[in-house]
Amino acid sequence: MQSWRRKSLWLALLASWLLGLLGILPLLRLAVPTGPRAGAPQGWPRWLDAELLQSFLQPGALPEDVPQLPRVPRGGSCDWGACFDTSKCRSGGFKVFVYPAAGPISEMQQKILASIEGSRYHTVSPTEACLHLLSLDAPAGACSLVPPKWNGGQNHLVLRLHPASCSGTFQLGQAMVAEASPTVDTFRPGFDVALPLLPEAHPVRGGAPGQLRQHRRVAGTDSSACPWDGHCEQDHGPEQTHPGAALPNATFCLIPGHRADGLRFLQALQAGCVPVLLSPRWELPFSEVIDWTKAAIVADERLPLQVLAALREMPPTRVLALRQQTQFLWDTYFSSMEKVIRTTLEIIQDRILGASAHPSLLWNSPPGALLALPAFSTSPLDFPFYHLQQGSRPAGRFSALIWVGATGQPPLKLIQAVAGSQHCAQILVLWSNDKPPPPSWPETAVPLLVIEGHRKVSDRFLPYSAISTDAILSLDAHSSLSTSEVDFAFVVWQSFPERMVGFLTWSHFWDEAQGRWGYTTERANEFSMVLTSAAFYHRYYHTLFTHSLPTALRRLAEAAPPCVDVLMNFLVAAATKLPPIKVPYRRRHEDASPSRVPGGLGPAARDCIDRVAAGFGHMPLVSSRLRLDPVLFKDPVSVLRKKYRGLEKP
């Protein structure tokens, strides 16, 4: 009796306490005023008669507009459609004429001339040229002359690598201006080209690699921002290309917005330091095609503290991506004068090409637009470089391209071995011999096609339209391969479609004694080239070989046949920055001596690599110390378990 009473009393007490506590909170809120009451946001009202409102397009108004023809561009204003005549470029291709220097020329100008004259765009005839290039970096006084074929400046590109040189000496008319760090106010997007501000001592070819190659730091280990007036740990690394200008060792580099700071921008890029541009008053170099948001940050100089705070909070993944992009852009477009000029020309060519220009992806991911030619395709899927980004992979077939040179025996055994591969789609015989090809060829499971060549060594790398697959197995009539070898090599190539996968290797070395590059065909513990007498590679490299190599280098190959191998390897290495891949190859008795070059290398051949390296301006070859074998290769397990049994024979 009493217990229930007690319990109820307890309960009531508890309840009152609880409610008291609950009640106090709102009372407190009532007592303490919380400033002006925010209340619910008063949004834009929902009008009762919203449905009855009139459209901004009054019915019938638009079609009645009086159409007009475009007005002539206002004085001095030009854009691509109005001021550039593309008709010349369509008929004769993109040819560039460079005005010869009228007087004493600067060192810079000499470099420019040299780099264009070596390129495939150059023409000596001003009448067939699509673009006339005029460099305005001559010493003062020499630049007031209006060149002979000026034509109001139409189809002219005026190069101004220094902001101060020769400005306003004559009317530029309809000429495009390629200027270093142009101010945003005068820059005409889509017409002018923004160049980087280059130091005097910028190399013509090659150029120093990005600094991250030396010490690629992992994201997140340091997030120091380096203001340029000194307060940051400077690492005077081994890589000092500009005397007196140390490359900053920081994650972010703050760069003020003045034009003169363009130099620092480039240094930061080289150092792998993410440029943070504070309200730049100048247009970023090649902004028409380069997506700078992937490599730099353009911030407002009025909010330095907030910018720093935001940088500090940036996730390491993003920082890592930004830093790698700085290196890619530096190496691809900025590290040498030749690259800067070629990029400029490529941009103008892209404008002419219109829909068949480089897609943005080709500009902004390795290997870059200078090595991914839109003449091959505008779809990234066709190139060997973008399979990962596109979520695609190379198709499962290859075409065998057999080159029959001077000896002229139809390689019947080889054809049978290759045709036996389940991955083979077609066999092309490139008959490059004085004798006519035999009328009958062996029966094969795959189509066999004979192409007559012109007996030039570089013929084998022409982009034949008959090649229907991404993969090419390049072969010599002398080569001997087994079906197992072919099968396995192709499966490996599918994992590395951008590289060359070969059987026989050479390696390059620096000859200290003679101070030059050399190479050896001896078997060694490492290699940097694979012979194209038996190698898988992507069809694209035929296009690249034919369309991007300077004529001088291709002539070199004609003179010394082994040089084609060197050239091809250089080209692929320059595009991928990776070594080729070697797969197992069973040595046969008949090829005790290297097939292509009986009696070792002649003097021309020995000379070749050094001259090719000079032509490239740097040594792109990379050595590898590994060979890819089947997983169970020569393992102590029954041969019946193994997939590539043909490779197991001693």
Partner: protein, 758 residues
């Protein structure tokens, strides 16, 4: 008394006994207090809920009832637009301030009706579209109703169409806005600029420093990086229901559907049609239609009548010529129809060109080249055309289809300028969403948030994916962006850091340390001491080695400690090695490091494993037999980039990390999944198979235990595959050996002779 004693025995008697009278009194008191408090509570909470849902309770108003503002004739006029304005000169960024969400705050002025001295209205109060636009902003995350906190101000004065307003008076109306301040941070939306006869390409209303989101900019009026070029909205987007048509060849190659064209252009188009016949169709206004037919929705060619915009779906390319203005609403209709616009309007700044890559969705032809348009278009390969058609449709869906889409894209562009470090990337703006699964269509995220993808586009994308179909779903390859995309071979001199995870097998650990220290490229050795109950041996007892040795004690015995990104790791390369792996030779380890240098973005390991699809059970199976393929390497001995430690610790999807720690198993499989998923690449197995002291088999040997182990490992694969939503592992048939391995070559000349031997 007796009872009270009893209470004392039972427990503390806080409440003394009371009489019934008292009891009633107390109960009443408590009831009163209770009721009072309930009433207070109700009073406190109830009104709030009423206020917060004022959407439905607030009185609705009519546009006609808005307050009227009379503008004196001599009220100030802003200066004309300043052509040199840039964000860092004319925009007051201090108003935006620091914002943890990196979102600008936008304020909308309340609606007023402006009249001049004589009471004549300055313009239509507001158009339907501008009302929609302001509603969209108000409903977005950008909106604020607090004028003091706003960073961007949007006047409610409607200037979408210049023809509907009086220029001078509108300018005066702008100038008297409470925060006008020379137009700083004010954003005006205009789609139809200029007026007869010379049709300026930007709004003629003097606006001083105000930003202009304009629909017909030319290169001469557009302030790059300051103004925003927007589309001219096509009301047909909402009025007409147009089922989507996928890309592919269509009946007409080139179509012109615009009505008001300059005779000279029409002549040129006529010439094109005469030359190329059926494949070119030039449409014009219908002259002989009966009155009740909407002339906007019909087009005619000679006597044939076509429905507009349906006819656009019949064409591959559609001409968008300049009219009196550069910006044409037809562009929106064309994109919607999946027809590739052929823009012939010199100097026109395409909509949102600051962020959208129009090369992917359109063809721009100079007016002078109009005669060549056909041959220019014919040179485009079919595959690229289909890509452009898809892209055009995607642009419409994401950025053109509604006033809301246009408004939000504009604000996003301005937002990205103010918070560049949080800006949306090129890919997010331009890449059409890929369909992951055959899930409902509204889950695809564009730059601006969720976008509903129409069914047919989804199906075409799926079709594309199916082209790559292999056996199980794992063979669908998704696109990846490799975090280590730069092709670099790290310098050999950097060396690697070996991380040995150990619990208490000190003797074995010391042997591993001694063996590993013989590897030339080792630069540091890190022992992760995972035993909290036991201290590591004294310093003097550890083997003396030539590189720094560091012991890290962990707080908890977790497998994920092995993959923690310790500050002590100074090299890019990490060798994870178990404390019982003593059979690897120095040559093998050094060679493994050399291989890693050539593949720094992959896992490079010694024992290889494979995952297989079990057709009977319809699930994944773990395989450790002698197979011809590998898809995983065990991290009991593997090289990898330090970055993956960061990913494993902080970016592992789902609950995998905790799951692994809880089950004390499969951390290596998790790492294989993670790396393959993020790089899209396969592992590299190095050197021939060795008789490892089977890292799978635990202390006791035995078939049954081995089998349960295999079952557990298979479970891990299935679990991880479901968390990742895909099977990222890639199967390869190769392993890496030294160049001259097993070659007929003098052993003493080989770099790594001691490989594969036991």
């Amino acid at each position: 008394m007796c009872a009270s004693v009893k209470y004392n025995i039972r427990g503390p008697a806080l409440i003394p006994r009371m009489k019934i009278k008292h009891r009633i009194y107390y109960i009443t008191l408590f009831s009163v207090v209770l009721l009072g408090l309930i009433a207070t509570g109700v009073f406190q909470f109830w009104p709030h809920s009423i206020e917060s849902s004022n959407d439905w309770s607030v009185e609705k108003r009519s546009v006609r009832d808005v307050p009227v503002v009379r503008l004196p004739a001599d009220s100030p006029i802003p200066e004309r637009g300043d052509l040199s304005c840039r964000m860092h000169t004319c925009f007051d960024v201090y108003r935006c301030g620091f914002n943890p969400k990196n979102k600008i705050k936008v304020f909308i002025y309340s609606l007023k009706k402006y009249v001049d001295d004589s009471g004549v209205p300055v313009s239509n109060t507001i158009s339907r579209e501008y009302n929609e636009l302001l509603t969209a902003i108000s409903d977005s995350d950008y909106y604020t109703d607090d004028i003091t906190r706003a960073c961007l101000f949007v006047p409610s004065i409607d200037v979408l169409n210049q023809n509907t307003l009086r220029i001078k008076e509108t300018a005066q109306a702008l100038a008297q806005l409470s925060r006008w301040d020379r137009g700083t941070n004010h954003l005006l939306f205009n789609m139809l600029p200029g007026g007869p006869p010379d049709y300026n390409t930007a709004l003629d209303v003097p606006r001083d420093r105000a930003l202009l989101a304009g629909g017909g900019f030319s290169t001469w009026t557009y302030r790059q990086g300051y103004d925003v070029s927007i589309p001219v909205y096509s009301p047909l987007s909402a009025e007409v229901d147009l089922p989507e048509k996928g890309p592919g060849p269509r009946r007409y190659f080139l179509l012109s559907s615009q009505m008001a064209l300059h005779p000279e252009y029409r002549e040129e188009l006529g010439a094109l049609q005469a030359k190329h016949g059926e494949s070119v169709l030039v449409l014009d206004k219908c002259t002989n239609l009966s009155e009740d037919v909407l002339s906007v929705r019909k087009r005619c060619h000679e006597h044939q009548v076509f429905d507009y915009p349906q006819v656009l779906q019949e064409a591959t390319f559609c001409v968008v010529l300049r009219g009196a203005r550069l910006g044409q609403a037809v562009l929106s209709d064309v994109l919607r129809a999946g027809c590739v616009p052929v823009v012939i309007a010199d100097s026109y700044i395409l909509p949102f060109s600051e962020v959208l890559d129009w090369k992917r969705a359109s063809v721009v032809v100079p007016e002078e080249k109009m005669a060549d348009v056909y041959s220019i278009l014919q040179s485009i390969p079919q595959r690229q055309i289909e890509e452009m058609q898809r892209q055009a449709r995607w642009f419409w869906e994401a950025y053109f289809q509604s006033i809301k889409a246009i408004a939000l894209a504009t604000l996003q562009i301005i937002n990205d300028r103010i918070y560049p470090y949080a800006a949306i990337s090129y890919e997010e703006w331009n890449d059409p969403p890929t369909v992951v699964e055959s899930s409902p269509a509204c889950t695809h995220v564009s730059a601006l948030g969720t976008v509903c993808l129409s069914a047919s586009l989804a199906s075409t994308l799926l079709l594309v994916l199916e082209d790559y179909s292999g056996v199980p779903s794992s063979e669908k390859w998704g696109s990846v962006s490799n975090p280590l995309f730069l092709p670099l071979i790290p310098p050999q001199s950097q060396g690697f850091t070996a991380i040995v995870l150990t619990y208490d097998r000190v003797e074995s650990l010391f042997r591993v340390i001694t063996e590993v220290s013989k590897v030339p490229s080792l630069s540091k050795l890190l022992v992760v001491w995972n035993n909290q109950n036991k201290s590591p041996p004294e310093e003097s007892l550890w083997p003396k080695i030539r590189v720094p040795l560091k012991v890290v004690r962990t707080a908890e015995n977790k497998l994920s400690n092995r993959f923690f990104p310790y500050d002590e790791i100074e090299t890019e390369a990490v060798l994870a090695i178990d404390d019982d792996i003593i059979m690897l030779t120095s040559d093998e380890l050094q060679f493994g490091y050399e291989v890693w240098r050539e593949f720094p973005d992959r896992l490079v390991g010694y024992p290889g494993r494979l995952h297989l699809w079990d057709h009977e059970m319809s699930k994944w199976k773990y395989e450790s037999e002698w197979t011809n393929e590998v898809s995983m390497v065990l991290t009991g001995a593997a090289f990898y980039h330090k970055y993956f430690n960061y990913l494993y610790t902080y970016k592992m999807p789902g609950d995998i990390k905790n799951w692994v720690d809880a089950h004390m198993n499969c951390e290596d499989i998790a790492m294989n999944f993670l790396v393959a998923n993020v790089t899209g690449k396969a592992v590299i197995k190095v050197t021939p198979r060795k008789k490892f002291k089977c890292p799978e088999c635990t202390a006791i040997d035995g078939l049954s235990l081995d089998q349960t182990h295999m079952v557990e490992r298979s479970e891990c694969i299935n679990k991880f595959a479901s968390v990742f939503g895909t099977m990222p592992l890639k199967v390869v048939e190769h392993r890496a050996d030294p160049v001259l391995y097993k070659d007929d070559f003098p052993e003493k000349l080989k770099s790594f002779p001691n490989i594969g031997s036991l």
